[in-house]
């Protein structure tokens, strides 16, 4: 059967991904915000990740943008790219993930694959999303439908390292599905893929990336606070410590 892809959520992550897939596959892009769909249909990507030419290229490739769930019912691979914001007490807000899983669950059919790209703590795909999919669809996980996980690694505003040029970690809920998911991404990601041994491993791999960034930034921030009380200019310290140009960007990212 032909792979037909529905991308759920057309923001920083979903739209570039949908555009990349549209070159080789039949793709539909779904978002709950009708204004977002209207803008995309006129060639405008508000996140500025895609140029007007690229949005129009997606349309020319046959991609459809829609806010109507019925229009994604006929697809067999669902890729969920909704955000997972963190509240002030560091608790992840899983509402977008749960809501989009409900939507996908309503159109889920036998042998479909649902791939999540949202950043989550290990276990969310199988322990939070899968039960929602099962309940809404009445289908059984790993018998009737399958899941995959491939963490998004989009760096907003970076026009050089775009989605196909960043190595993609992949995983699936069974060994066969894992290979299928890996092959799917491999067909468009020129930087290659890394097939992780499980969905949890893939989820954790993204958490490491974010945590490492947090800790690196915190280290520089703390040093900056110390130097400030000593009357030392941190910019000058960093220039001296990294004469070969280790990025100053790591200095305080708000």
């Amino acid at each position: 059967m032909d792979t037909k892809i529905a991308v759920i959520g057309l923001g920083y992550v979903g739209l570039p991904l949908a555009h990349a897939f549209s070159v080789k596959y039949e793709v539909v892009g779904f978002d709950i915000a009708q204004w977002c769909i209207d803008e995309l249909n006129s060639g405008i990507d508000r996140t500025l990740e895609l140029s007007e030419a690229q949005v129009k290229e997606s349309l020319a490739n046959g991609m459809v943008f829609t806010a109507d769930l019925n229009e994604i019912a006929d697809y067999n691979v669902y890729i969920v790219t909704v955000p997972t914001p963190i509240d002030r007490s560091n608790r992840p807000d899983l509402t977008p993930l749960i809501k989009s899983s409900e939507s996908v669950g309503k159109v889920l059919k036998k042998d479909d694959i649902v791939i999540y790209e949202s950043t989550v703590y290990p276990g969310v795909t199988e322990e939070v999303c899968v039960p929602v999919l099962e309940e809404m669809s009445g289908l059984k996980f790993n018998e009737d439908f399958y899941c995959g996980y491939s963490p998004e690694r989009i760096n907003p505003g970076d026009k050089e390292h775009t989605v196909t040029k960043i190595l993609k970690v992949t995983a699936g809920s069974t060994p066969e599905i894992a290979t299928m998911v890996d092959n799917l991404y491999k067909s468009i990601i020129t930087a290659g893929t890394h097939l992780a041994s499980s969905i949890k491993v893939a989820e954790a791999s993204k958490v490491i990336e974010n945590t490492q960034k947090d800790v690196n930034i915190a280290l520089i921030n703390e040093l900056a606070l110390i130097f400030d009380t000593m009357g030392i200019d941190t910019n000058e310290v960093i220039e001296a410590a990294a004469p070969n140009g280790t990025s100053l960007n790591s200095l305080l990212v708000l």
Partner: protein, 156 residues
């Protein structure tokens, strides 16, 4: 993940510590700004402060997880009146929030008691010190978080 870890009975001290330091930076910057304003004889209550940059990093329109709003809140608590400007932001994207977003202040007449450069957008890097002085009241207080302007009042 820190939330999940604690649920499982492990307290991730290093990661939480990092988060706490990063979250505390906004308050530190606001306090440092206030101190510099006092040093320069500015009246704090009702002072006009200009915050330049709202995105979480330079040259993109992404305001998710941006801590700039915490700086504005903190200054608001001191009684300052804060205008925020970011050439990358569409006013429509932020209008539902309770902040004052303005169009290019360098083309307007309003003068500010303090200016805080929070994001290193290319458009800001191209500005000369004299241009910052042009939108400032006498004795400019120029707080430069990104190290992009020459001889600021204070930089981190």
């Amino acid at each position: 993940m820190t939330y999940k870890a604690q649920e499982m009975g492990y307290k991730p001290n290093l990661i939480l510590g990092a988060r706490q330091i990063n979250n505390g930076m906004s308050k530190y910057i606001a306090e440092r700004t206030i101190k510099e304003m006092i040093t320069h004889d500015k009246k704090i209550k009702g002072a006009n402060v200009l915050v330049l940059g709202l995105t979480f990093k330079e040259d993109c329109p992404d305001i998710r997880n941006s801590k700039v709003f915490d700086i504005i809140d903190e200054l608001g608590d001191y009684g300052c009146s804060v205008d925020a400007y970011d050439p990358w932001i569409d006013k429509k994207d932020v209008e539902q929030q309770n902040y004052t977003f303005i169009t290019d202040p360098f083309k307007a007449d309003k003068k500010y008691d303090a200016i805080i450069i929070v994001v290193g957008h290319k458009a800001f890097k191209e500005l000369k010190r004299s241009e910052f002085e042009g939108v400032s009241t006498a004795e400019p207080v120029l707080i430069d978080i990104k190290g992009i302007v020459e001889s600021p009042t204070w930089r981190l």
